[in-house]
Symmetry: C2
Subunit: 202 residues, 2 copies
DNA sequence: AAACAGGTATACCGAGTAGTATATTTTTAA
DNA sequence: TTAAAAATATACTACTCGGTATACCTGTTT
């Protein structure tokens, strides 16, 4: 059954890439761990690079599911949903086997902006940004662009810091900071004419 | 002149590692670019790994100088100094040839927490955190630990996001967020007994 | 039974990897 | 000037890398 071997390969590669890195994990190591023949990998995916892209696609799907389950099970107040996200991040960071964000890793290991892997990472992060923008748009009195981008920076910072320091504490501080940003937004709604200038997104 | 070749090798390797990655840059590529013989590298540094550690040492030195010049030339008010840091980050991100944080890259390419390269990255980041803590301690009415860690997350988030999106805009949003965190701290100084619990640093 | 498809095993390719050995030349300092 | 130190070129080891070629096996579907 082709599709099962294929999915298994993607799942195994996803875990290994995330644990050790894209460059550091060889095709040989993947087929060993997956228990399949070398040619099975190259018939299902033309190259290691294509396999990497497939693992990112799977990671993106799984992340969306996590995102929805982390947020939409909670109160319908956007402020509470946003804070629930950071609480869920803390749990995620503390999970056994969690090893950082595959997309940040991908963007760093493939730094060329037009590389297909780097591009996949950027597109995933843009999805996250637009999701946050949707949440921020429902916060009373807030500039949704500014608020969502600031929350996004806390999000990225927490991921990077937790991986670097090997501890989930950054998620808790990110939640505290988000709380303050939300409080500031609802306490001091800015007149539309005085909004800080918006920068272009990339 | 030994020390000159040695320094030259470190400088060349530092740039190449930062542009392309530690795994992706080979010893051959480094000696080609530096214009030295293969054995010159292996006599000055026992291995590629030792060369990597030396480039991180140099990066740390240069970063400290940048940090001081970005902050201490400005007003002695801590709030202004903190905001000056994020303004300087924007300039830094926009600088031709800037290619992200070598320490974040190092921690990702060498994910094992006890690896000498990962450890060097973590120690550098802890230096940054304690520097921020010193600044936050001078902000009236703020919990210095909470404030400095929250600023640190904005710092890391801005670096990661700017590299990922290939644009300096995250620094500007980080500055805006820092502004709000500072305003919240000075407007609502919390009684010492009610402080949020402090997490252990790693 | 025959044809087909997916998987496997094995051997192979050329290129690249980090690192070493050695003998020779260049540079520096006494 | 001479002796020590540093840098050189060249060749080499042993291994790993991504990727390919090919022959064979196994299960399913007509």
């Amino acid at each position: 059954m082709s599709v099962r071997k294929r999915d298994h390969l993607i799942a195994v590669a996803q875990r290994m890439f995330c644990e050790t890195g894209f460059h550091a994990v060889s095709v040989d190591a993947i087929i060993d761990e997956a228990g399949v023949a070398r040619m099975t990998l190259y018939k299902n995916f033309g190259s290691k690079e294509e396999l990497i892209v497939e693992t990112l696609r799977r990671e993106d799907t799984m992340f969306r599911q996590w995102l929805v389950s982390a947020i939409e099970a909670h109160s319908s107040r956007s402020e509470d949903r946003i804070l629930a996200l950071f609480k869920a991040m803390h749990d995620r960071f503390a999970t056994e086997g969690y090893c950082g964000c595959a997309f940040i890793r991908a963007s760093i290991e493939y730094p060329a902006p037009n590389h297909v892997v780097h591009r996949a990472a950027r597109e995933h992060k843009n999805m996250v940004r637009s999701y946050l923008r949707g949440l921020a748009a429902e916060v009373e009195g807030a500039d949704p662009v500014a608020l969502s981008e600031q929350l996004y920076l806390l999000f990225e910072g927490a991921i990077t810091a937790s991986q670097l320091h090997g501890d989930p504490w950054p998620a808790e501080y990110a939640r505290q900071a988000a709380e303050k940003l939300l409080a500031a937004a609802s306490l001091a709604p800015q007149p539309a004419a005085k909004r800080t200038k918006v920068h272009r997104a990339t």
